[in-house]
């Protein structure tokens, strides 16, 4: 499907609204092992109400129901949640300074481990592709890397210092063990392990490298892993590119370079951005809207440019905190908001 086909008209159709949380929903994650073939899609969501909810779509009715409420573990807001690549474990990060690891034991979710160490609110957690490492970040300005040991044991492998302020999100590269973090200090940092097993910062993307001029809230990679998009309080999305072959051969000198800034499309803080397998970038912002961007075919010699495909105003009644594409179905998106709800959407086309 060519996004630049003149006859295509896109619309964002609301499939269902998931209610249940009693406070704002900060984040959500699709279980990567579900939603394909004969498994029904599953979503985990986390909230200011201190709980995590597990939602599953019924095979029979195609309607989403809340299957479980994970409560009485975190004592403060649960800020982010993410499934392990195999879908077997769920990690949840909380303002209570801990990260909890949950396992689905016969339909019942149990907290099998609690990671402590951060001095204050944990903002984000991310698993690497091979599920051997976990990363967390906090307002304490550090990023921690944990090794996943047998028997659901987690050992702190490194405490990464470098950010000068609150670290908002951590994200592992989709295929390589390279870690990315973004912060209230307006920078994005890239971390890699050297031959002696030490982790260090191999690149800091700041304002002088065409970086953001305010808090960077999120990072997302394209399917190939050679581009990433970041979103910020400075009201822009920025797209970055790196030499993937160089990265694969372990070249530490490979740098991420700015290729595009999407400016003028947002007038309030952009909290979330997610790049779909097909190349559609979705953004969720504080103006209650969800926007979609694609690479423009007008891309000139000096590099790709991106254009707005669709803006869905009032997607929610309040700020959109997160947007996440379904890993299973094409063009299905989930979003969550300060209004306490999660919405499932389908980006549909009406070719004229």
């Amino acid at each position: 499907m060519d996004f630049n086909d003149e006859g295509s008209h896109f619309e964002l159709k609301e499939i269902q609204t998931l209610s249940g949380h009693t406070d704002r929903v900060w984040s959500l994650a699709w279980n990567p092992a579900t939603g394909t073939d004969d498994t029904q899609p599953v979503i985990a969501s986390c909230s200011g109400d201190k709980t995590v909810r597990i939602w599953e779509r019924s095979a029979l009715t195609r309607s989403w129901d809340c299957k479980a409420v994970l409560e009485e573990t975190h004592t403060r807001t649960v800020r982010s949640c993410t499934w392990s690549p195999s879908g077997k474990l769920l990690a949840t990060a909380s303002f209570d300074a801990t990260t909890a690891i949950w396992e689905n034991v016969g339909g019942d979710f149990q907290c099998v481990s609690t990671l402590e160490g951060h001095e204050n609110e944990v903002k984000s957690v991310s698993w690497n592709a091979s599920e051997s490492l976990l990363a967390t970040c906090s307002r304490d300005k550090t990023v921690w890397i944990w090794e996943v040991m047998p028997g659901n044991e987690f050992e702190c492998a490194s405490v990464l210092q470098g950010h000068t302020q609150d670290v908002k999100m951590v994200k592992w590269h989709p295929t390589m063990d390279i870690l990315f973090s973004c912060s209230y200090d307006n920078t994005i940092k890239v971390w890699a392990e050297d031959d002696t097993g030490d982790w260090h910062c191999i690149q800091t993307i700041g304002e002088s490298s065409n970086g953001h001029s305010s808090t960077v809230w999120a990072i997302s990679f394209n399917a190939e892993g050679d581009k990433m998009v970041t979103c910020s309080d400075d009201l822009t999305l920025k797209v970055w590119e790196a030499d993937i072959e160089g990265m694969r051969s372990g070249d530490d000198q490979v740098l991420w370079k700015h290729i595009s800034t999407l400016t003028g499309y947002h007038d309030r803080t952009i909290f979330s951005v997610h790049w779909s397998r097909e190349g559609i970038i979705a953004s969720g912002a504080a103006d209650d809207a969800i926007r979609f961007f694609v690479e423009s075919k007008d891309s000139a010699v000096d590099g790709p440019s991106y254009r707005l495909l669709l803006k869905k105003e009032k997607a929610h009644d309040m700020d959109v905190n997160v947007v996440q594409w379904s890993p299973g179905e094409n063009r299905v998106l989930a979003s969550a908001s300060d209004d306490g709800t999660i919405k499932i959407w389908e980006l549909a086309t009406n070719s004229t």
């Binding site: 309080d233 309040m318 700020d319």
Partner: protein, 154 residues
């Protein structure tokens, strides 16, 4: 917490003549700067038994409202340039507005340009939703905010 007061001898201004407060602000379909200002007048300064209005920290002129767009911007002036209470005052303003306005409202709070030594830093903190949410989970901070907002509910 500092042991001494930041501003021990504040200048106290006369309160502006007010018309009757409407029965219920939250029932009003439309909001204006006067309506929002009436919400603000009774917020106590964290250090003194005077309201923010009496200390000229906040005035009607410093409140910009666009009801159609559901937007409010409040600009406040800390009494002292190095006032470390600026973030607490800003937090009180934010909480008061949060509790009084419909959820469709977007609120920006800032210190009046040129009135605070670390203006950009204070503004950034006051408008970072995640930081505000975490701060409001701190019982000590919530108690202080509730103390400042208490007379408004009398």
């Amino acid at each position: 917490m500092v042991s001494g007061l930041i501003n021990a001898n504040p200048v106290v201004y006369e309160k502006k003549e007010r018309r009757q407060r409407p029965a219920s602000i939250s029932d009003a379909d439309e909001y204006s700067a006067e309506a929002i200002d009436q919400l603000e007048v009774d917020i106590k300064d964290p250090e003194h038994p005077y309201s923010l209005e009496e200390l000229k920290v906040i005035s009607e002129d410093a409140i910009e409202v666009d009801d159609r767009r559901s937007y409010v911007r409040v600009t406040f002036t800390p009494t002292v340039e190095h006032c470390s209470m600026a973030t607490v005052i800003g937090l009180c303003l934010r909480v008061k507005l949060m509790r009084s306005l419909p959820s469709r409202y977007k609120v920006d709070i800032r210190v009046a340009p040129g009135t605070h030594a670390t203006e950009a830093a204070v503004n950034k903190q006051l408008n970072d939703k995640e930081r505000i949410a975490a701060a409001l989970e701190n019982p000590n901070l919530v108690d202080m905010v509730d103390e400042c907002l208490a007379p408004s509910y009398a």
